[in-house]
Symmetry: C2
Subunit: 329 residues, 2 copies
Amino acid sequence: MRIKDIAKLAGVSPATVSRVMNNNGYVKEEKREAVLKVIKDVDYQPNPIAQSLKNQKSQMLGVIVPKISTETASRVVAGVTEVAKAHGYQVLIANTDLDIEEEINYLKFLSNKSVDGIIMMGTEVTDRHLAVMDKLTVPIVILGQRVKGYTSIIHNDYDASFTMTEYLIKQKHRDIAFIGVDEKDEAVGIVRKKAYLDCLKIYNVEVDNQLMAIGDFDIDTGYQMMQKILMHKTPTAVLAVTDHLAIGAIHALLDAGLHVPKDVSVVGIGDIKLAEYLNPPLTTVHYTFKTSGKMAAEAVFELMDNPEKQGDTLMTTFELKKRASVRPL
Amino acid sequence: MRIKDIAKLAGVSPATVSRVMNNNGYVKEEKREAVLKVIKDVDYQPNPIAQSLKNQKSQMLGVIVPKISTETASRVVAGVTEVAKAHGYQVLIANTDLDIEEEINYLKFLSNKSVDGIIMMGTEVTDRHLAVMDKLTVPIVILGQRVKGYTSIIHNDYDASFTMTEYLIKQKHRDIAFIGVDEKDEAVGIVRKKAYLDCLKIYNVEVDNQLMAIGDFDIDTGYQMMQKILMHKTPTAVLAVTDHLAIGAIHALLDAGLHVPKDVSVVGIGDIKLAEYLNPPLTTVHYTFKTSGKMAAEAVFELMDNPEKQGDTLMTTFELKKRASVRPL
DNA sequence: CTGTTAGCGCCTTCAT
DNA sequence: ATGAAGGCGCTAACAG
């Protein structure tokens, strides 16, 4: 069913139908009603692709995620879709599965007018990303990392990690192990580690390199890193840069016959949904990922109207969730 | 940059450029190379919207999910995107947030050629859904529910629930509580309950209605339903129809001073990622949601070529994950 | 107030 | 082997 058919049925021209549908231009009341009636009768819906081609707008937002099947990503997407819907937009998901090439491919693909704005939830932003991003004609917002010259929504990783470390120190912990991730991930790999180190320094707590381990993002890694640290020394507390790593660490401790938190306190960062239902409930930092997604989407719409605002950095809030996995000394 | 520009730069006609890009028709080798060079030099990418309009294909799959920020949904989407990518397709996410009206709206919206196929992960399929679905011109696959006349990918809810109940009975449990959900969700609300009841019957275990509670899908509900059941009687085992409900139940038991599994065994269904890391690790049924997503996507592509195959029902496998939350009596 | 026309960018006859 | 022309469905400019 095309606009032409509606026009014929209503005894008017296609232009009139268009005017009625888009509510612009003048059209005599009776004709308007006739058109409306036909539209309703045949349940006509205009072809969005044709509209896109004509309007040079696709009414779609593209979201590039490293791995959709993670709690973080799906919460972000939930936030994005919510705002998108409010603007009459659809959301296109590009799942890169942590493949940098894919990220760049999607960046290119999405740029050709197939979406009106891009939200990129990257882990690593390389020069090649920047090369592609510089040529983009649609607004882009980076989520999770700060990228110079581009609007970024970042989680306050530094303060979060610092606050957490400080909390442990105030509970009189001094032997605080650290389980981190590779530095390729700027926010998680570098910033959270720096905050930990800075905090130790400020409080005059000696840094023991053997109490630090770096690995991947998964639970198993947390388990292995914890084991590695235990071979050297048993800390009184462990700061893991993600909740999953913390869970792995807790299991390694239990398997080593250590009780949490009686023998060793453990904290994470991220506050996954189940953190409070773990045993013991995990002390962690709550990030508002859905809100980040909303902010990112709002920023994109903002940029669609005011491209010159490009470059802002917005920081989301966080909240320390004190739960039973920490014991004061 | 349009095809016309490329044509001009390469000294050929737009038609020739099109032929080169789509690898059809004859074009002299030297011209082909000239075109290819220009395309590479200017990093030209055709406008997918114009292609869609012309080809009457959008190269996009639509996925309607009840709530993207759930582990199930995101795993399904991961599977769909994987298969879609292999076919050169993009994935459009429609997040309904459990709103039936939205589901129907999206069904309508997606049908106008804005996607070439739809995967609907519904909780409830009403007559109004069917009315819209009947008019669809693009293939649709239902995931998670069986709908007559439509290709459906279903999880083997009956056998899974039956197997789980049987497992408890074989561990000599007789007072087996049941925490279910509303019957509006056919697969989870009705089928899993029926399997539980059938199994009790077959093994001549008496059904105690006070040991059964029905509520929502979240952890808190599991907690409350368990409390309610405990007011009546302390069962030796609890079958919760989802892992989240099981987690809530475990907490209610702990708060009531009961140990799991020493005093009460608890099992769930679904095998969320953290199930094995809970304390105690949760005995549950593992569903392959990502695989379901893949199957659904493959079925859609299949239907695009052979629409007459509409109506198949594919059942995914499941696996009983025996973990420490169950104690034999 | 309404209809005709042109064009968004691409692909596919048709003619050469 | 290649180019010109028309059309996918829609909307905006221009007449009238």
